[in-house]
Assembly symmetry: C2
Homo-oligomer: 339 residues x 2
């Protein structure tokens, strides 16, 4: 099945409007909370894995609208997935919507504005339309979107539905990656929900990874990366969208799911970024091409778009070199897909 | 010297307008960068301690405007301080402006929007007027401000100069702190610029603190805090302003300076939050009152405003109890004031 650019444009505009409607819903919900001073939450995995009535309400709003407009398309949503029995990767080759009604639920509970509605649309398992709307970021919210297609584009809108838009990446053409990257890069990663205290836990390994990336060059037995900064926003959707837009360089995250990244990934791919597995494939050599991440693989290492550098190194060459430098400095994380 | 509320209101409005003008300057600068694709930076301490021409340009803009309007007031600015010889704490009792032209310079270089202009005004060493403007956060920027005075107030503006404003704290009255705090809290902290690899370095201690705060209750030899999340934004001004507004619970940061926190501290104090030393005073007992932070002390632990809880525990009692819980879980950091 193939879609023309004008069909994709229609899908894109539909998804943007839908994300803005979902954002209105959340803003209404938050403004009621400002009066009521409480928000009912339910725990999923543990006390930091929360679901609110708003998560479920927004997912229903989005699912109902998609079914009404595109009854033949498949739908994967975080809340229906979490409530169901089937934990395998459900993506098929047909047109499929992959939706996170609220990424950053903990932030929303605390009214910290790094919360996003993520709507992705895949064809043949490739993120093709992506919309990420952060309804609390600025008075009008901030909307990122893209059509991943040779005649497509990627955009940011910060002034509401009728306001001006910014083409992405935010600097175009994007600058080359820093010569000694990861030194000089802005690195995004999350602490996550696995909080077990043990030497092999994901929490322990993630903290090792962060310290390695932050430490001066030469430190940590050669693993010091001297990145410009480590940022943890509490939303892997927002982490990836900042890398997609060129407002950051590296996103390293594991434990999240396809609905957390599908929308942002469409934007990243369209701007010229790459996403690979955050664990290096076993036995990969230093020279062979690096395969792209499996959308359902739960481990993502994203690198922003860049231009050919002054030595003539192509973007993909710089990006893959940076991936190998990050892999050298990070421990393998224990997130797998339920089979 | 005392100021009437109407004089403070005038100072507040002047500082808000000045912060917006400085924001316009930065937005102009960024839009030129989007074309030129480069930003000249200079290193201060090391490759992550950057200063741009914009830092110095904005500081001059703010300093000149203040000298023109209030020639008798003192002025402390980050860039003039860094360029000077005198490293002692310069604050005197008279009316003094304390300004960070750009907090989050690394973010600005990468176009990540957590960058703020901070303008604080002290009387008798007390932050009395505070303005924090994040010019890239939303299309119109986001402005936080307060007059710390019984007849004052605290506000957030996200829609530009003529748009609606939100009273702070964002939920009013603010909810009590979580019963088992720090469990359930949103915690803000930064990795900082000290990247040395040694067991006693600030980097090592900060990472220990973050892991302790994140780990499940009972883990880490009883130090596990099971916070809802750890957020690192790359701007201590923004960290503190989110706690001031009630969009976060705890800010733990050391190594920054009075200009990074003075503006946000005025907002925090007005909303009912507290700021203490992030290192516990030596020998302090479990029951004596906790002294407030020294504005020039370079170590800050801020707790958001809260209301009396259902057991009748007063706000200050809850806040001090939470401070002690954070102190138990964190190592003393090595930041001192040059004498």
């Amino acid at each position: 099945m193939s879609f023309s650019i004008s069909e994709l444009q229609k899908l894109h505009d539909f998804a943007c409007n839908l994300a803005r409607r979902a954002g209105e819903y959340l803003r209404g919900d938050q403004s009621r909370r400002r009066q009521a001073q409480t928000l009912a939450t339910r725990e999923k995995l543990n006390s930091v894995d929360l679901v609110t009535a708003a998560d479920e309400g927004v997912e229903k709003l989005i699912r109902d609208a998609i079914f009404a407009e595109y009854p033949s398309h498949a739908f994967i949503g975080e809340e229906s997935y979490s409530a169901g029995e089937e934990k395998r990767f459900l993506l098929k080759d047909g047109p499929t919507w992959i939706v996170d009604p609220i990424d950053g639920t903990v932030n929303m509970v605390h009214m910290f504005p790094m919360t996003a509605i993520s709507i992705g649309f895949c064809i043949a398992s490739i993120p093709t339309v992506g919309v990420v709307f952060a309804p609390f970021l600025g008075g009008h919210g901030t909307l990122y979107s893209a059509i991943n297609h040779p005649e497509g584009g990627a955009w940011m809108s910060e002034y509401g539905i009728t306001g001006p838009i910014t083409n992405l990446p935010i600097i175009s053409p994007p600058p080359p990656l820093p010569k000694d990257a990861p030194k000089g890069c802005l690195f995004f990663g999350e602490w996550g929900k696995d909080r077990r205290d043990s030497p092999q836990s994901n929490l322990t390994k993630k903290s090792t990874n962060f310290v390695n990336m932050a430490t001066e060059i030469g430190g940590r037995g050669g693993k010091g990366g001297m990145v410009h900064g480590i940022r943890s926003l509490g939303s892997s959707t927002m982490d990836m969208v900042y890398v997609a837009s060129g407002q950051g360089d590296i996103m390293f995250e594991a434990g999240c799911w396809e609905w957390d990244v599908c929308g942002a990934m469409a934007i990243l791919l369209q701007t010229g970024g790459i996403v690979v597995d955050s664990n290096p494939p076993l036995g990969i050599s230093d020279t062979e091409p690096i395969p792209m991440a499996n959308l359902g693989g739960r481990r993502y290492l994203a690198i922003r778009a860049c231009s050919t550098d002054e030595d003539g190194k192509l973007p993909r060459t710089q990006q893959e070199a940076l991936v190998r430098e990050v892999w050298k400095r990070t421990e393998r994380l224990n997130y797998e897909r339920p089979m």
